[in-house]
Amino acid sequence: MMVLFAFLVSTVFAVLMRDDVRSQVRTGAWMFAAFVATGFVLGWLMYPLPL
């Protein structure tokens, strides 16, 4: 679910921010990777916290 969310949001942001397809793809890919990586890092950081 997180990956799907990251994909859709990064796609919209990339298309909003860039005008040519090549930069849109590059920006979108970077943003998607950053979303997913941040999700995993925050998930592991919160792992010891009690619910």
Binding site: M1, F5, V9, T11, V12, F13, V15, L16, V21
Partner: protein
């Protein structure tokens, strides 16, 4: 050809202090169109690729949010966070109206995906607000 419907100079920039000669009524229609159908204003302005991406991605986000039992929040001023979520949901006009008309978006608080659904719905509305501002800037000749 882009901007055919708007008598404006595509070479002017905001930094030069020039403004596009767009009728205020046309701008209002453009913004309402962008609110009602995600990406429609971009399609009208000739930005076909952008318009199609917004149409597919934002509509999909809204539909996924509903499928995950997300809730379309009411304008409950007594609860500021609910009111803010309602404003965010409202950003995606057409699907919001359609869902309200069909009785969808009631949400199921007990569902494990309720929060995920809310996130999809809220972010879809907020992203469409950015899309409306982008269409406005394009129409004004700033982009």
């Amino acid at each position: 050809m882009r901007y055919d419907r708007f008598d404006m100079s595509t070479k002017s920039t905001a930094a030069e202090g020039t403004r596009a000669s767009v009728e205020p009524g046309t701008l209002a229609i453009l913004c309402v169109l962008a609110w009602a159908v995600p990406g429609a204003a971009h399609l009208w302005l000739g930005r076909t690729q952008k318009g199609l991406v917004f149409l597919v991605a934002l509509t999909a986000m809204f539909a996924i949010g509903l499928m995950l039992h997300g809730q379309i929040f009411p304008f409950e001023l007594s609860d500021p966070l609910v009111a803010l979520a309602a404003v965010a949901d409202f950003g995606l006009g057409g699907p919001w109206l359609a869902a309200r008309a069909m009785g969808a978006g009631a949400g199921q608080v007990t569902a494990s995906t309720w929060e995920y659904g809310n996130t999809f719905l809220i972010v879809a509305g907020l992203l469409n607000s950015l899309v409306i501002l982008d269409a406005f800037d394009i129409a004004m000749g700033r982009k």
